[in-house]
Structure formats: C-alpha cells, structure tokens
Amino acid sequence: MAPRPLIRLARRGLSLGLSLLAIALAIFGLLSLAPGDPLARMPLTLPPEVRAAMREAMGLDAPWPTRLALWLRQALIVEPLVLCDTLFGTSWAEDAPRLISWHSRTPVMGLIADRLPQTLRLMGLSYALGLACALPLGLWQAHRHRSAADHATTALTMTAYALPPFVVALLLIWVFSITLGWLPSGYDNSLRITDAASLGTEIRQLILPVAVLALQITAQLTRHLRASAIEVLDTDHIRTARAKGLGPRALLTGHVLRHAMIPVVTIVALGLPQIVGGAIITEQIFAINGIGHLLISSIHAGDLPVVQTITLLVAVLVVLANLLADATYRWLDPRLTG
C-alpha cells in the first residue's frame, strides 16, 4: 500500500484535474453559445462567399465536438509544449496547431506575453504596496482596539473599500493630472526604459493606477487583519506570552501576526489570479495595454480563442492559488490538517 500522503496527493491531483476540465467545458460552452460574430466588423462590401471562406479558415464551420477537441488539445497540450520549447530549447511542439487569435492571426500566447509585463507590474506593485500598508495598519488597529484612532482608521478604510475604482481613478486624475498637473493621466505604451529619465517617466505614469488599486487592496486587507488580530489577542497563548513579559512589538509580530494572517492569506490567494488577469476597469481608464485591456477588446471583436484562453488561464490560477493557500494555512497553523 502506498503511503498515505501519496494517496492524498493523488486524490487531490485527480480532483484538480477534473475541476479544470469542467471549467474548460463550461468556458467553451458559454462562450460558444453567446451571440457575436468575429466577422461583424469587416466591411459590409465583403461578399458572402468570401465571408464563408474566412469562417471556414477560422474553423468556425466545424461541428462543436471537433472545435472543442481541437481547443482542448491546443490549450492543454500544444501550448504548454510550446512554452517548454521556448524555455528549454526542446522541439516537442514542432508543427502542432497552435492557438491562433482570429483577430490578429498570431498565437494567443504571444499576445498574452506582450501584455503580461504591464499587468504584472501594475498588479504586482499594487498588491505589494497594499500588503505593505495593510499589515502594520491592521495590527496597529487591533492593538489600539476601540480607541479614537482605531475608529477613525476604520471609517477611512470603510470609505476606501466602498469607493469603486472608477470613481477613485477619475478623482485622482482630476486632482493630480488636471488641477495640479503633476502626473500624466494616461499610460504611454510606447515608452522604453533605457535610462534613469525613462525609468522616472515609467514610475510617474504608474503612480496613479497603482494608487487606485492599492487603496482598494489596503482597505480590504486592513479590515480583515484587524478583525482576526483582535480575536487572536484574546486567546490563551497570547495571554501567556504577555504574562511572560513579552513586549507588544515582539508579541504582535511574533505571535499575533502569524495566526491573524489566515484570513489575509485567503484574500490574497483569491486575488492572486488577478495579478495575471489584470484590472479591467483601471486598465481601461488609464489606457494601460495589459491583459484586462486585451480581454475586453477581444470580447468586443468576438475573438473567442483569446477570450477562452485568458478565462481558462485565470481559472487555472484560481485553482492553483487555492492549493497554495491550503499549504500556507498549514504552515501558519500546523494544527490544521485534512
């Protein structure tokens, strides 16, 4: 009999694989049923027989089981092999049919790779900044529980959490770009970072969008961290630690933070796929050419391969992030099993 952890791992892997397959089927089904035509934006002068030939070349005329099988093969087998080839110089994918965007006739993964750096930079910085602000703020609020400062901070975080990003973004643009003229209102996609000056420009044009997203993240994380830290501060082992004469700094960072992190980990793990999926609204407002922008423009153009792939990618990341969160829980609190 195989050792127990191995069996557990296998069971877990099987359920992951099945849920991914179910997600892939749902994505394919829903998007295929949705109305829309990738040729709708072509000139009306295009004769019907030319349209028919173009649809055929896209594979749109094939029956749905064929299209589904091809898509699954491309998305789950061919594209990972191509990735492997580019990373390690192997040649497994050779002539296999790659996932091609209907709109641009280039590999979908290439489009995503073009857009990923902007989104990673934007979302990564926002999460880093959000965490950097939320951790001390939440702990400090828990520590000063029910003081005037705590109430004031709660009011602030509630407001920040309640304001939708499109309101905050327009507000910040109005103040910092239009009234004060300190920061650009849009993002220059053609900027290349070559020297200190262009790096400065890049930082300046990232400040507003990162601020919008970080504000939201900070507010959300602070509220959860505060609530769970208050709970932890009331437990027996903290009381024991206090009785041993531990100072508040060592107490909060060494004992409270670790236990209070569990809900924060859940939220960060659920947000992790967003780092790749992008922020659709914020990217649109600041004209940042990230994944969110690609997704929206592909939906408008009826470019199903791109829409399906981004959605599937985000779904895979959600599943993986959940797995990661489970592992982190156990590291944070070894009593959790199962």
């Binding site: 019907p48 030939a53 896209m58 049919p97 970072i193």
Partner: protein, 581 residues
C-alpha cells in the same frame, strides 16, 4: 500600559521582510523591455490609430485599420488618388484599351512593373511575386478576405520577369480590381511560399511583418497595440521617406487621439476621428494641429422594409412572400422621407465630417446625378398630405394615424453608436409630428452586422420596419455595389439571409440596367447608367440617403504632406510626408 504602546515604525520594520521579498520577486519576474533606439529621435513620425491594427496582412483581414497600417509597407500596382483617378504605383503605367494594355475583347489585362524595383531586403520584385500573390489568395482553405479582388481571374501569365497578364473567364468592363488599391498589394513569394492554403492563418511571423516595397519596414508589431517601422533603405525614390522611424500607436478612444494631435501635440497624425462636431471645434482652438476631411462613397442611410416582418409569419417573416402592410405603399415612404431634416442631422452628428446629399452614389462626382437644391428639405405639411392621401388618418384622436383599425406604428433599429442613437431620437420626434409612432431599438454592432444565420437581430434578417446603417463600395466603381439591389440579392432563408438588397426591393427594369452596366466599358456611358440606377432606387423611396459621411483626420501643424484619400489609406503618400523646416 506605557510598555504596551508601540509605534508604527516598529511594525513597519518587522513586516518589511515579507513585503520587501514580495516586491523583489515581482520586480525580478518582470521581463526587461528590449532596448530600442533612444526615445528622443528627431525624425520619428508618431501616428495615432485608436483602432490599432491586428495584423499587417490585408489578405487575412479586410478591416480598414489593418489595410491602412499595412499600406506603409505593402504596395499595389496602382492606386486611386484623392480625386478618384487611378495612378500607377508599382506599375509603369495604367493599362488601357488605347495603349494596348487591355485586350480588345476585354478578357485580359497586362501590367508592366517599373524598372529596378526591389523588396526592402534588396531582392528584385518580379512577375512571379504577382502570380504568387494571386495563388496565395485563391488557395483552398486560405480564408482570403480579398478574394473578390481576383474574382473571374482564370489564369495569370508571366511572359517575362517584368510583365504579368491577367486572363479573365469573361469580358471585364472594369478590369482594375486585382493589385489595385491598398486591399490587394503584392506579397513577396520568397517570404510567403510556405503559407499557402490553411497555413496562411498560422504564418504569424509573416503576417505580422510582411516584407514589402513601401517606404517603411516593420521593426516591431504588437497586435492591437503598437507597430513600429523604420525607413526602407532600398526605397526607390531618393530622399524619401522623410522620416526614419514611424510609431503607430493604438488604444484608447477617438477623443484621446484627437487631443494628442490637436491639443497636446504628443502625436503628429491621427486617423478616423469620428467625434461630435462640438468636440472637434473646441479641440481645434488649441492651435497645435489642423483637421483634414475627405469625402468618398460612405453614406448613412435609412432603409425601409418592403416585406412584412410580423413574427406571426414564422419562417416567411421579412421575405418577399408577404408585402409590408404599411411600407409597401410608396406614398407612406415618401411622407416619412419628407419629414426628415437632413441639414439638422448633419449638424447634429457630423459637422465638418458630413454633407447633405440626395444621391445614393455621392462620389466620385461623375456618378452623382444632378439634384434640385431643395431635394433634402423637410416638408411636414406635404408629408401629412401624402399620408392623408394614402388613407392614413387619425380617426380616434390619439395623435396617431390609423387605417382599417391598424395604427401607424413602426419599429426602427440600428447599431449601438452615440450618433445613431441621437439620430433615432430626432427622427422619432419628426415622425411623431406627422402622426407616426416609432419604437426604437439599438443592437450591438457585433450582432447587428454579424452574419450568424441563427441570430434574429442581424441587419440582413431585418425583422423590423426601418433600419439605419452606413455602407460604401470599395474602389471608385459602384458597378458591383449597385448590382446588390438586384432581385436575386434579396436576403432570404434560401440564401442563408445573405445578400445586399436589404430593402427587398425588386424591379425588373433596374435589373436590366444593371445587366447593361456590367457589359459597358466606356466611362461616360457607365456614369450615365450609374446615375439612372441610383435615381431609380432613390425615386422608389426604398431607402433615404441621410448623410454623406467623410473621413476625418488630424495632422500636427509642423507636418507637411498628409492629403486624405477617401478611396484608400490615409497613409497612401506617406513617403512624401516631412517635418516643416
């Protein structure tokens, strides 16, 4: 208590370890941008196409944004200049019957390439490249978007490296289709040889960076985002192009692109600026740029359904089996037309980018029949009189006309677009003033113009009474466009709802004229036939021309050379553009 007090900074110092590590990981994960030339290049031309190109191969996507971007690189044998005249481009001259370039029976046309033409990789352009381009587009499974350009071409001969003869399966009065205009440029055989048939779709390297003969060479292309070009070192005209780098940036909205040229001066040229007139006016006041317009054949029109769209008819809905109970009466259609104030529509929606017209073919000028000056004027009393005469009267005093117990109520649909929705509202109001009630609908453009036969809301199914949309013809000859109104082109279940005769108008006299036009080669005689056919359709009131729409672009004051071309790409003469000294 004092002991329990801690400071922010203490917490910051400790939590830094976690967040610092996260930030570092993310920073490392970000791939470094490739180093390009320094940004402050003095002769970089900055173009803004807010609708960014998705591919640079016009044979795979007929969308204007793609065709226009590709025109910096790929060139045809001949182009149409802004006045609608053909000018030789890669060809030495335009073949005609007089110079022997077109066979006397009209079944062949012979083009001769300029001497010493080379691709940007310095290899010579030969007749084999032209022949290959035809094979590439016509290959089975290629899904070529420009196949109609080669319609009827049965064979291409290459007697020598400089000469190509296109043979047609039947006499062609207008043989200037293949290799004319930015939609059908010449591709390099050496580059695309492995991209025939279904492989055309997957040749992404080639489709993103075609090798051409034009003034610029693609250096970087990100679909739907940005394209960068450098000057073609092998370009045939010495001293051209006037810029050594071009950045074509997409994304954002039309207003942002206009602002970049007209107000902030961040860009040199922006194309396709369909914006409200008041926005363009206020932006122009900043004085950093100027607006350019050009009027081609694009016409915003109303189309009346001459067949009954009643859902109760099932599969026979909107087919010629059942004439429309209201709109098949020409008096009603004429009354609806007379209630429109087309001058007001132009001012409301287009400003400098629109003109009042009564012609179906508003350009080139030789095809527009002469019209009385007041043909587009609003005349509400006459509209009411016409409806009275047709038997539609308000018998129950509710302000709405009726006849035999049926109220005069119409459905009116178009695509989602702010200008079109404004038009719908004012037209609804004018029609209400003559006692006609209208129910408005706006459908997403992706569905309205889509060709999904299962969708009930396409403009071709026309499951309502009145529609508004714009269309135009490619090139300068409207022969095929007019043939779209023949009886055989009525969309129906038998044709999978394909066909350009959206109004479902059918008149044997019109079909006879169309047949004669198809056999006529003499330009003056063609113009006569086009005028007759156009008048025929307008007088039948099956459709109403609303606005002759132009193209609008903005150019920075310091930029010399842009001359907007309604028949092709705004960049057709980009080799001549330069910065004012």
């Amino acid at each position: 208590m004092q002991q329990n007090r801690i400071r922010w900074t203490d917490l910051l110092a400790n939590t830094h370890a976690i967040t610092g590590a996260t930030a570092l990981c993310l920073a490392l994960a970000m791939p470094a941008q490739p180093l390009a030339e320094p940004r402050s290049h003095h002769d970089t031309l900055r173009l803004r196409n807010w609708q960014a190109p998705a591919t640079l191969n016009p044979y795979l996507s007929a969308g204007a944004k793609n065709v226009e971007a590709a025109s910096l690189v790929l060139e045809p044998l001949a182009r149409t200049d802004p006045d609608g005249e053909l000018v030789p481009w890669l060809a030495r001259s335009i073949p005609t019957r007089e110079n022997g370039g077109i066979a006397t029976d009209g079944t062949a046309i012979t083009w001769r390439l300029r001497d010493g033409l080379t691709w940007s990789d310095s290899t010579p352009v030969t007749a084999a490249d032209l022949r290959f381009t035809w094979e590439y587009c016509m290959a089975e499974g290629a899904g070529c978007a420009q196949a109609m350009k080669f319609d009827g071409v049965s064979r291409i001969d290459t007697p020598d490296a400089q000469t190509v003869t296109l043979h047609f399966d039947a006499p062609r009065p207008m043989p200037y289709q293949a290799f004319v205009g930015p939609q059908s440029p010449v591709l390099q055989k050496a580059q695309f040889a492995d991209c025939l048939g279904p492989k055309a779709q997957t040749c992404s390297t080639q489709n993103s960076a075609p090798i051409g003969t034009g003034p610029f060479v693609v250096t970087e292309f990100q679909p739907g985002n940005i394209a960068e070009f450098t000057a073609n070192p092998a370009y045939r005209t010495p001293g051209q192009p006037g810029f050594d780098r071009v950045i074509l940036q997409g994304g954002g909205k039309a207003a942002g692109a206009a602002r970049a040229v007209l107000q902030t001066g961040e860009a040199d040229f922006a194309a396709n600026l369909q914006l409200p007139p008041e926005v363009l006016d206020s932006m122009q006041e900043a004085g950093t740029g100027r607006l350019l317009t050009a009027f081609g054949p694009l016409l915003e029109r109303l189309v009346f359904n001459l067949t009954d769209p009643d859902p109760a008819l099932g599969p026979e809905r909107s087919t010629t089996a059942h004439p429309h109970p209201i709109l098949s009466d020409p008096h009603v259609r004429a009354a609806l037309m007379l209630a429109l104030d087309r001058r007001a529509l132009v001012d409301l929606g287009y400003g400098p980018a629109g003109r009042v017209t009564c012609a179906l073919i508003p350009a080139p000028a030789r095809f527009a029949p002469p019209h009385p000056k007041d043909c587009a004027d609003q005349d509400l009393p006459r509209a009411r009189a016409l409806l009275d005469q047709a038997g539609w009267r308000d018998t129950d005093g509710d302000g709405l006309r009726d006849k035999d117990g049926r109220p005069l109520r119409l459905g009116f649909q178009t695509s989602v677009n702010p200008v079109r929705q404004d038009f719908q509202v004012v037209i609804q109001d004018w029609w209400r003033q003559i006692g006609v009630e209208t129910e408005l609908r706006a459908i997403d453009a992706g569905i309205f113009f889509g060709s999904d036969p299962a969708n009930p809301d396409t403009f071709q199914k026309f499951n309502t009474d009145v529609q508004m949309f714009a269309s135009a013809f490619a090139g300068t000859d409207p022969g095929n466009f007019l043939a779209g109104w023949r009886c055989e082109n009525i969309p129906s279940p038998e044709t999978d709802w394909q066909g350009a005769n959206i109004a479902r108008a059918c008149d044997p006299a019109f079909d006879a004229l169309s047949a004669r036009l198809a056999e006529t080669a003499d330009p003056d005689a063609r113009a006569q036939f086009v005028q007759q056919m156009s008048r025929h359709l307008i007088d039948s009131h099956a459709l109403v021309p609303l606005v002759h729409r132009g193209r609008v672009a903005a150019a920075a004051n310091g930029l010399e050379g842009p001359h907007l071309n309604p028949w092709g790409s705004p960049y057709w003469n980009i080799a001549e553009w330069r910065r004012a000294p």
